[in-house]
């Protein structure tokens, strides 16, 4: 041992340490599985801020003697990190929230997730809206990736002060009666523009997404063929958005920009087509506008925007415990709790008629019975096949509308550019 020189040993030790440190970076972040010191099952859970379910999870953990590690990351990051972790085969959590567009991508590779049907999800299938349930199911109906959390039925938020200034009725029933079709909507918009000088809608792209969602088909037909160019509903949605732009009824703000929030507070636009989860967003982004907004139903039926699922990645060593947790969390009772606290609308129609929902009002929205309104909107939502490329296509057409709004192209050229881009991307 003496012969083994000290500095050599030190060197080897240091190299080993360095190597260990390098490798250890990934080792120490091992997220899934594991048992804590006192023998409790430990579940790692990935969420994004604003889901509003952390407290419920902690409550469940305390009651059921398990340990939870809730890790929050930005919405986009949760999906990217999950994709990377699944591909790498390590680092995925026991439970991860996934939004509907993310689910559509993951459905192509269901082998990365525990099949919830094997864990007994069949017994709760009846609790959820059919179309929502099928969103996280593979097309063959054999593999269920996630249990539904909230849905995003759409309604119309409108500015009471602008409607009043334009000499229009402000009562939500009367507004709904006044605006029964999109043509009515444009007529009202023209009146508001003439009397107040304000825009009718925050973003023409927002109107486009709503109208396209009111059809029976969107970008893909039942056999998976792309029908963007032939679908009359898409044509209608695009034309409507352009009519709004031509008549100067659309505000120049980009959704999610800081200016958009300012416009929301100041009343630069008279309506905002809002899914249920937008309520929470408006309250936090435009707190000073409390009482100035009201909510009513959309013309020509509702549509769905967003909504999420709770999934169990295959790496989880405790799928049974994880399943019990998400089953509890997405149960009608707990979804009601989330709704009351955060505004995320439940995906369980069984409670839509309950007094808790029907009598739920929002002070911010002039005490509108938002529970009742969104419950009705939710029943109007039709099942639509999204398809794996729906985010891309939506982005391409959204860009086409923005180009027209910003005066960079006329609507025909802009549409042509969009279709060329679509062909190129889908051929890839």
């Amino acid at each position: 041992m003496k012969k083994f020189r000290f500095h050599k040993m030190l060197l080897i030790l240091m190299s080993a340490l360095l190597l260990f440190a390098a490798v250890g970076c990934s080792g120490s972040k091992e997220s899934s599985g594991g048992t804590s010191k006192d023998g409790k099952v430990k579940l790692t859970i990935w969420l994004w801020p604003g889901m509003g379910i952390e407290d419920q999870i902690k409550e469940y953990a305390a009651e059921n003697n398990i340990e939870v590690d809730i890790q929050l990351a930005e919405f986009g990051d949760v999906h990217n990190n999950l994709t990377t972790a699944l591909a790498a085969g390590s680092g995925a959590p026991d439970i991860s929230a996934v939004e509907v567009k993310g689910i559509d991508k993951m459905k192509g590779s269901p082998e990365h997730f525990h099949n919830l049907l094997d864990l007994g999800a069949d017994e709760v299938a009846g609790d959820y809206l059919d179309w929502k349930w099928r969103q996280s199911m593979t097309p063959d109906g054999k593999h269920l990736l996630g249990l539904p959390t909230d849905i995003g039925p759409q309604a119309m938020a409108y500015r009471i002060d602008l409607f009043e200034e334009a000499g229009l009725p402000t009562d939500r029933e009367e507004v709904a009666k006044l605006i029964q079709t999109w043509d009515d909507y444009i007529k009202v918009g023209e009146q508001i523009k003439a009397k107040t000088g304000k825009a009718m809608i925050d973003s023409p792209g927002g109107l486009y997404s709503v109208v396209e969602g009111q059809g029976s088909e969107k970008y893909f037909d039942k056999d998976g063929n792309v029908i963007v160019k032939d679908n009359p509903q898409i044509k209608k949605a695009y034309e409507l958005a352009n009519t709004l732009i031509e008549k100067g009824l659309a505000s120049p703000f980009n959704q999610w920009s800081p200016e958009w929030g300012t416009g929301m507070t100041n009343g630069d636009f008279a309506t905002l087509l809002a899914p249920a989860w937008m309520m929470g967003f408006m309250m936090s982004n435009a707190p000073d506008a409390a009482g100035k907004w009201d909510i009513t139903l959309l013309p020509e039926g509702s549509g769905n925007w967003g909504g999420s699922f709770m999934t169990i990645p295959k790496e989880s060593k405790h799928p049974e415990e994880a399943y019990k947790l998400i089953k509890w969390l997405t149960s009608p009772e707990q979804q009601l709790v989330t709704f009351q606290k955060n505004g995320n609308f439940p995906s369980t129609p069984g409670i839509f008629d309950s007094e808790d929902i029907q009598n739920f009002t929002s002070e911010y929205f002039n005490n509108a019975p938002v529970g009742k309104i969104y419950a009705e909107a939710a029943t109007q939502v039709k099942e639509i096949i999204e398809g794996p490329e729906s985010i891309q296509i939506e982005g391409i057409i959204g860009d086409a509308i923005t180009r027209v709004r910003d005066g960079q192209a006329n609507k025909e050229d802009s549409w042509k550019t969009a279709m060329e881009q679509l062909d190129r991307e889908l051929s890839r």
């Binding site: 003496k2 012969k3 020189r5 000290f6 500095h7 050599k8 060197l11 080897i12 240091m14 190299s15 360095l18 190597l19 390098a22 986009g76 990217n80 994709t83 990377t84 699944l86 591909a87 991508k105 993951m106 192509g108 590779s109 990365h112 120049p252 703000f253 980009n254 920009s257 800081p258 200016e259 300012t262 416009g263 630069d268 985010i391 891309q392 982005g395 959204g398 860009d399 086409a400 923005t402 180009r403 910003d406 005066g407 960079q408 192209a409 881009q421 190129r424 991307e425 890839r428």
Partner: protein, 313 residues
């Protein structure tokens, strides 16, 4: 303690010599000393580069199986108008941000180096401060400054009778906005580098020039700039590499797609969008490799120019 160890090891020399020659042992220990870098570089540098090259010949959505498609990704890339637009945007933003930035940094450094300036330490710190702020915070603030209706810049411009400019929508407006963020963050950094270079210039050169009646401006162009040329080249290379990889600013300002006419789409943003929005990792890898080759090409040009300048001296 180390002295003792050294003594001991010298005594031990005789014993271990039997098994290995001194030169061989020196070689081994030499390699061992440098091995940590090479091990880490291999894992985090070489392997990803090679693996990216491998993926770029496949169609891969990261979760499913890889499908070999040969050079198809590269073929599509070179006929992809959006890629060329992204390349053009990257260079445009790079030029708009780098040239004024380096020039301003030089002037700031020159001023900071003047003897008459009081509170130099404070200014040095102040000029460097933007560099350590979070880039996302910078992008949000600048996004608000360059807003169309509620942006402070358009408000100020309105005093000069200029109509509100929709910075986000136009190509040049977006490039200027993004370049402004880059300049704000990196001018101070380059100032500090130049300042260090300035302080290494012998004072007697300036004294001689002053005696000869040279003005401050003449001193700046005929003494300062030639003396710090190596540092200027260094900062040009750094800003080139940084500028080619500009990502967070356009992402925050124009969104992941780079805007409706792709006005804010840079090469790395396009790469990110392909990989993480569209999940076409093969195509993204092809973009990464082309970007890599472009940067290598630029570095070689820089090297060539540097050598020419050195030999001219």
């Amino acid at each position: 303690m180390s002295a003792k160890v050294e003594l001991k090891s010298r005594q031990d020399l005789g014993v271990t010599k039997k098994t290995l020659k001194q030169t061989t042992r020196d070689h081994i220990s030499g390699y061992l000393y440098i091995s940590p870098f090479f091990i880490l570089f291999g894992i985090f540098g070489v392997f990803p580069i090679i693996f990216t090259a491998y993926i770029s010949f496949h169609k891969w959505n990261i979760l499913g199986a890889k499908e070999f498609i040969g050079f198809k990704n590269y073929q599509m890339l070179f006929t992809d108008p959006i890629f060329w637009k992204a390349l053009g945007n990257t260079f445009s933003i790079w030029i708009i941000s780098t040239l004024p930035q380096l020039f301003m940094a030089l002037i700031f450094a020159f001023i900071l180096n003047q003897a008459f300036l009081k509170g130099r330490e404070f200014f040095r710190l102040a000029v460097f401060l933007p560099n350590i702020t979070s880039v996302v915070a910078v992008a949000i603030i600048f996004g608000a400054i360059f807003g169309q209706q509620y942006g402070i810049l358009n408000y100020l411009l309105s005093f000069f009778g200029i109509d509100p400019i929709n910075w986000r929508a136009s190509v040049i407006g977006t490039h200027v906005s993004i370049a402004a963020m880059v300049m704000w963050r990196w001018t101070g950094y380059n100032t500090i580098i130049y300042l260090a270079a300035l302080q290494s210039i012998p004072k007697d050169l300036y004294e001689a020039a002053t005696i000869d009646g040279a003005s401050k401006a003449q001193q700046f162009f005929h003494i300062t700039i030639p003396m710090i040329r190596p540092m200027i080249i260094f900062t040009v290379i750094l800003s080139t590499i940084g500028g080619m990889q500009i990502f967070a600013e356009p992402l925050m300002f124009s969104g992941a797609g780079g805007g409706a006419i792709k006005q804010g789409l840079t090469m790395t943003l396009y790469l990110y969008e392909e990989a993480f929005t569209r999940n076409s990792f093969g195509y993204a890898s092809a973009i990464a490799w082309v970007l890599f080759l472009i940067i290598v090409g630029f570095s070689l040009i820089n090297l060539f120019i540097t050598k020419r300048i050195k030999s001219a001296e």
